[in-house]
Symmetry: C4
Subunit: 212 residues, 4 copies
């Protein structure tokens, strides 16, 4: 087993569970609350739940893609990397909470009410916090290039450090936007995830060439 295999397996587990628990917040309209024929409008009126599910699933999915990409470049993990990774997992496994919060308060009318703003800002805060461990990880790797796979060095680690600081700044701006225009912020989160996952600006998963 490669030295990073079990850390990756445990992380994969946490990511997979956090991302799958999100569905528990998409509530089935209860029969007792509806008149006959009331299911279709109730399902359609639930759209903030689906939007929140979509944005959160894809954002966590992108954090996983990123995790995957980063750990491919790490040859072995020391205690500092383990610690930052644990903090990242703490935040990832916490995401069902802001997701539930957003779904609960977006469902309400008044998309600019103080409570919707607080819910959206809390949501953005958790995801902004989840960008911080990457700064810690790349800062450490830039100082300890011996932890990197061959072909990666301090220079490339510093480049990634810069990119992760940029991510932290961008998601911190997200907190301000979410506190002012909640729906716009959710839309931006969704766009950012799709952009990150599908374009060249996103994860560059360089794979070792398969042997001859």
């Amino acid at each position: 087993m490669s030295p990073t295999a079990r850390t990756e397996a445990f992380s994969d587990g946490v990511f997979a569970i956090a991302i799958t628990l999100l569905v528990l917040e998409v509530h089935v309209p209860q029969r007792s609350d509806l008149g006959p024929g009331g299911l279709l409008p109730a399902l359609l009126g639930n759209w903030p739940s689906y939007l929140s599910y979509l944005a959160t699933f894809l954002t966590v999915g992108v954090i996983w893609l990123n995790h995957h990409g980063v750990f491919q470049r790490i040859r072995r993990v020391d205690r500092t990397i383990q610690w930052w990774n644990l903090i990242l997992l703490l935040l990832v496994s916490f995401t069902p909470f802001p997701n539930a919060l957003l779904a609960e308060y977006l469902e309400h009318n008044g998309f600019l009410s103080p409570d919707v703003r607080i819910a959206a800002a809390t949501y953005a805060l958790v995801f902004a916090a989840a960008t911080a461990p990457w700064v810690g990880i790349w800062h450490h790797l830039a100082k300890h290039p011996e932890l990197l796979e061959p072909g990666w060095d301090t220079t490339s680690a510093k480049h990634e450090l810069k990119r992760s600081v940029l991510g932290l700044v961008a998601y911190s701006c997200g907190i301000v936007i979410a506190g002012s225009l909640p729906l716009l912020a959710v839309g931006l989160f969704l766009l950012a995830a799709v952009y990150y996952a599908t374009t060249a600006g996103g994860v560059r998963i360089r794979r070792r060439r398969p042997g001859p």
Copy 2:
């Protein structure tokens, strides 16, 4: 680690969790709702929950068998495959919702009421949507046969593409049937899963011969 190992591990995690969360929708009859000796009839009256559990578990199980079969033919994943796989996982991890919806509304009398139809059609819609990523994946693989394991090429990918389009068409018909005759549709879903999993028309898991 093989280049596809972590994607498979993460996917296995999501499948395993989604399929196991289904049981949370099989509700225990509460003592406070029953008279003495009322448990047996309450348990028997719960049959739509069990039916829904069975149909959903086996359908998701078959999607996993299929995922397993497909990834055995993929040598490495690029960003497009990762993206389609993420969309597939999004839909798979969403399945506890339509399952809960179906269990909640099938439990009601009147198997042809508008609400039961909407519930069943929503159920069918999610599973129809979950066939679409396979079309995307095989379309991409047909154009990039270098991503396939040796022994697989554009021709076999195009054959699989045709099969996955057929699956999409069949499950789309399922939406119409579910909207008209909900119970029949659930029965067909169940049959399709059993058929797919046990017959030659199902997954052909070709395994590389174990070394000498």
Copy 3:
């Protein structure tokens, strides 16, 4: 990756989740239901929940140990094995339901009331059903010894088949006992799990000798 690796990984995921979801049925006494200082008696009065948790966790744990032991002897899985394994996982991931049922009805006074008997018999029924796939698996392996690892053949498969039929018979008797003397049955389940896991009569995990 060994030909059985992904089936084992997916199965491990389902086992791990089913076994961990059991805790959701151990309910925290709500503050609003208690007078001051009422927590300790409430916690102690909850003993049927803990007993049920213990019996179910250990029984599922033993099924996992058995799964582990069996798959070490299987060289590759064909469609029949996949199918029986899927049925086994269906039953394993269903276990949180009978566990919740038992905890709910054992909590009640009157350990011989009809409802407690039905709850316990349902519990035993699910676990008896979960022994059946092993009969199917060993029956198939006895006819297809080429699926077994070197050193295992039809004779040893037939021996295991006989043991799994015995297990099915024993757990079927458990249904009758549970329907008559619920608490005794839970105690027997617990004992059987501990016995199976700790004694020579249990799993014989034969490991290939680690290379020199």
Copy 4:
């Protein structure tokens, strides 16, 4: 597959799920319970939930780091190790219960009330119990050094045995502290986890040198 791989994979699954289920106890303030603008104070008033989440997540995370570290030194698992590991997993997967208990009762005013003390002592009791399997594991390994990886022997196993007895004693004291000064105990749990995870006194993950 290494002889310990599947045991580690199953354990990773249980750890990952238990640690991720904790978030289900961080409750979203319900709109119907709040006046307009009431979300922010409600979120801030929820701090015992976050504190409990943090302490439990990090403690379980540290148990995982420890598990990782120990299994790196184990060459193969016999039935005794499997059994102790199963007991450990039983306790780990039970942790969402004391976590929920602590969150429910800490939320209440009166941090020295009998109920808060009972909740905190129960919490400490479960984690104290979770240190016991390590004593069992190291006791067994000290007697069976052939189960250890090369480079580890009875002497080093006895050293670890002493450390695990120390852990058992320390966490048992935690029960007394929690029963007297609940909040202090939670703070100590948090500190212990951070200390263990980040300092030299914690896990010493010695890795085999990567090949030349």
